[in-house]
């Protein structure tokens, strides 16, 4: 692998055959049809999320639909447009696992925000009881 990459890098000016082999090995070649299907789905999902707001859906239904459409769109973009679906697991895990730490951060900050809100309600309310 490393050898092939070196050939491509070091002999950039040389024949197209060396680069073509690199492109074959490292490039991502998939049918255009697949991209079009994903593209259409992204449009449909965006329209759905807009309609959630347009029809004034509220409460749990609103949150769950918004998050569902968001995750589906993000998944389609990363998996197909960014080719993560076809990359080896070593890269996939290296890139996709660390952001999960953000979710822990979210949990911590939800607790923190609740605490701040309770303190504000208790000490800064116009009519404390």
């Amino acid at each position: 692998m490393a050898h092939a990459a070196k050939v491509g890098d070091a002999h950039g000016g040389h024949g197209a055959a060396a680069r073509a082999s690199v492109a074959h090995e490292e490039g991502q070649q998939h049918p255009i049809r697949l991209y079009l299907v994903v593209w259409v789905w992204l449009f449909i999902l965006s329209t759905f999320s807009y309609l959630v707001d347009f029809f004034h859906l509220q409460g749990m239904l609103r949150w769950s639909l918004i998050l569902l459409f968001m995750m589906l769109k993000a998944g389609l973009i990363v998996a197909v447009f960014m080719h993560m679906k076809w990359e080896r697991l070593a890269l996939g895990y290296a890139i996709l696992v660390p952001p999960l730490a953000v979710l822990i951060f979210v949990a911590i900050m939800v607790l923190e925000a609740d605490h701040t809100l309770l303190s504000r309600l208790q000490f800064f309310s116009p009519n404390p009881n």
């Binding site: 040389h14 690199v22 918004i66 070593a90 290296a94 952001p99 939800v110 925000a113």
Partner: protein, 237 residues
């Protein structure tokens, strides 16, 4: 065996040069993935944390304020031909950005098929759609600033709305702008045939190859990806 190993160790350069050589010597964790692509992914990971922290602080200030949050659906509504359309500008911006992601994916595909003309045209179309997005964002900022939205206050509710809005959309808009510039640079190189004859880049002096289109594409799709989260969490929430 030991002798050979010692000879090899002796031949390796010392000092700073040796430090760099040892850390970069044929030790490759990400097979099939070139150095440039791996580095772009790692950069995108770090950028994920930056945007993650912005959205996180937005969540924190929104959850912890006693003052009602301004309704984004109404704040970003427009009157179009006398019809009141909630959030319509943001919806159009979303569609423009998704369309540009589609043309970008096509450009990567055409690049690997060595279709020079189509790749360049698709890259320029992607850049134009990106510029359209930034233009609409500038319009949105102008409208809101005229209505009195400031980082420290606004006419409708919680003061934190303005700071979160300008910070998050401003940082995203900057990313789109940088992306547009890079797309135009890459489009010019494709058009000139740099990636067909391996002409070295002026900055990296590495031979040009069509993989650069894919790496630029990764950045562009990431910008679209971030917008998916901003659209859901800031505008629809």
């Amino acid at each position: 065996m030991e002798g050979i190993a010692q000879t090899q160790a002796a031949q390796r350069p010392g000092g700073m040069e040796g430090f760099v050589a040892d850390w970069s010597s044929d030790q490759r964790a990400f097979k099939n993935v070139s150095w440039g692509k791996a580095m772009m992914w790692i950069f995108l990971l770090s950028d994920t944390f930056v945007f993650g922290c912005f959205l996180l602080s937005y969540m924190t200030v929104r959850m912890s304020t006693r003052v009602p949050w301004p309704n984004p659906s109404e704040v970003f509504a427009l009157e179009i031909f006398g019809t009141h359309m909630p959030l319509i500008l943001i919806a159009i911006m979303t569609f423009v950005l998704i369309t540009s992601s589609g043309t970008m994916a096509m450009a990567v595909n055409c690049g690997y098929r060595r279709d020079r003309g189509r790749t360049a045209i698709l890259l320029v179309v992607t850049a134009l759609l990106g510029a359209t997005f930034v233009g609409m964002q500038a319009f949105e900022w102008t409208k809101l600033i005229h209505e009195g939205v400031r980082p420290w206050g606004n006419p409708w509710g919680a003061e934190q709305f303005g700071s979160a809005f300008f910070m998050i959309t401003g940082f995203h808009g900057t990313h789109v702008t940088i992306g547009v510039i890079f797309l135009l640079i890459v489009a010019r190189k494709v058009w000139r045939g740099d990636y067909d004859d391996g002409r070295p880049g002026f900055f990296t002096s590495r031979g040009g190859r069509y993989e650069i289109v894919e790496i630029t594409g990764l950045y562009w799709h990431f910008v679209d990806l971030v917008w998916v989260f901003i659209f859901a969490l800031f505008y629809l929430w």
